[in-house]
Symmetry: C2
Subunit: 333 residues, 2 copies
């Protein structure tokens, strides 16, 4: 089962490795996630007052939760299963307002259901969603057992949300509402909210893509800087006999000399007063041009200022690749 | 208007800068995007056969398009406007199966609508969605004018999609179907598809987050490597008087000497045969430990192998920061 609102389980097996009969479930790991109970339902007495306050969770967030739960439950029901466990202590919050059902399927293994109870279990899933939302709305995990909880909820939330929860937990007080008995009814009922969640997801996707584009540059730069690091100032490459030059001062001879001067050009710029210029922009520009193999020519000056070499980025790139390959070859032999 | 399925317009103004009266619209730029017409509707005669084949666009993709169009149109209608232009040549495809309405609002400026025609224009938006989907399904941009197009479509697509399109373009042939006259009806009708698009978006979000996590490492590494680059082998830092040491050999003296040896340790590893070891994993491990300022100690060996310094990553990190700050200070004065 692959769904964005369910923690994926990979395997389940029994083992005696821990000195007993253990049942082991292997699932995806979501670091630094909290359970919904930890995040929204404080159970310590000192927070007593906060617990009694309806409206701690904004209405829009509750709708977003309903949409995600509906999406998860739809995926489960459509392959002929029931979630069975939809409760705040078994749902994890992995990023802002993003929740995932956890521990689904454990009950299926521990207490396999009879095929004829499936419809009942699926209906119960919907009731559990309703109870969960009611608990979050009132800040009280046992709210569903309180007949006044729905009234209490309407102090802070719209009538529409109240009715939706009422239909889910199949309580039609104070207003008559049609009970929701299958997931498709719920999907249709919250369609407009699903569209707004969908749009939020798309917009987050756009943000992530643009962040990723910016960061992808870095991995190319890391590779280039590492190659330069492997080559520059390397004291000697032993046993590099094939190119005919003797060991020692490998990095100072041949094309590697350009690379040394290029490193100086990139990092050791000084201004007209001889002061160091520390400009990351210059570094990135140079390295990007190197990576692209630009035809642009630059003047590399030797340290004693007696020689100036005019080379293009393309030539430097070729020299870098050649030296790096030579190094790799020397390492392999 | 901020919606993930609409190209955002920022400004609109008139100018005489081009030697005439121009109306300029400023919108977001989506690089390397194609129009939906370019992608799905080939108009060159050589593709004639392909154009006549229904089913070139998979059904699931068409549903995904409907969901995105519905999301966009809902956003537009809910602020009391109409899209007015929903056609394959004005919709851009920015990534796989991700479409955006473009050029919305241009007509509002060029041909302002009367307030009393709004309802008609909104209804027409829905018809335009239907016509567009029919065009994509049949590969023929003029399909909506052909009464047989709906029949033709059912060769390759489900009855449900056919009926949905029929309802949108308000043609009830061959089966009677209720016309869809407002966007909320459409939203409810395609609710289940919206949920599956929503889930796809969530899963893509997960992938992007994990990619981004991996890449974010790189930006830290780039900064570290650049700092090392600025310092290592820098011939001299003139006018660094405050620390009392004279110019020349700056990078070889004091704590900078550790940094030089650390660079050797990171990049110039050799194996027991004296062969170069080119191991990016080693580089990244070392730099990550450096970035974290780990307490782990390493042995740095001088080039003449006469001296061994045992220092922790934490000390090297401090030396790196100090040297870099010194460089910055020298550059500023």
């Amino acid at each position: 089962m692959q769904n964005g609102s369910i923690v994926t389980y990979h395997d389940c097996f029994t083992t005696r490795a821990f000195g007993d009969s253990s049942l082991v479930f292997v699932s995806d790991y979501h670091p630094v996630s909290k359970t919904l109970a930890e995040q929204c339902l404080s159970t310590t007495p000192s927070f007593n007052r906060a617990r009694q306050t309806a409206g701690a969770v904004p209405e829009q967030v509750l709708w977003a939760f309903i949409v995600q739960l509906a999406s998860a439950v739809k995926a489960i029901h459509s392959i002929g299963l029931a979630a069975r466990v939809i409760t705040a202590s078994k749902i994890i919050v992995t990023s802002k307002n993003r929740i995932r059902l956890n521990a689904c399927g454990i009950l299926d293994v521990v207490q396999p259901s009879e095929p004829d109870t499936l419809a009942l279990l699926q209906e119960d899933d919907l009731r559990q969603i309703g109870r969960l939302i009611l608990a979050l709305a009132t800040g009280n995990n046992a709210a569903a057992s309180n007949p006044k909880a729905l009234d209490f909820m309407s102090r802070a939330y719209s009538e529409r949300l109240r009715n939706c929860v009422g239909s889910l937990i199949q309580v039609s007080h104070p207003q008559p509402s049609e009970p929701i008995k299958d997931i498709d009814t719920l999907l249709t009922l919250v369609a407009d909210q699903a569209f707004s969640s969908f749009d939020n997801a798309l917009q987050l996707e756009d943000t992530l893509y643009s962040d990723l584009n910016r960061e992808l540059e870095n991995s190319r730069i890391v590779r280039l800087l590492s190659k330069l690091g492997f080559i520059n100032e390397r004291p000697e490459v032993n046993n590099v006999g094939h190119a005919g030059h003797s060991a020692g001062q490998w990095s100072e001879t041949g094309e590697r000399y350009y690379l040394k001067l290029f490193r100086d050009y990139v990092f050791h710029q000084i201004n007209s007063d001889g002061r160091p210029v520390v400009d990351l922009g210059h570094v990135l520009t140079c390295l990007n041009k190197l990576d692209a193999g630009s035809e642009e020519k630059i003047a590399l000056v030797s340290r004693d200022e007696q020689n100036v070499f005019v080379v293009s980025y393309k030539e430097i790139k070729r020299a870098l690749e050649a030296a790096f390959q030579e190094l790799l070859k020397a390492g392999r032999r």
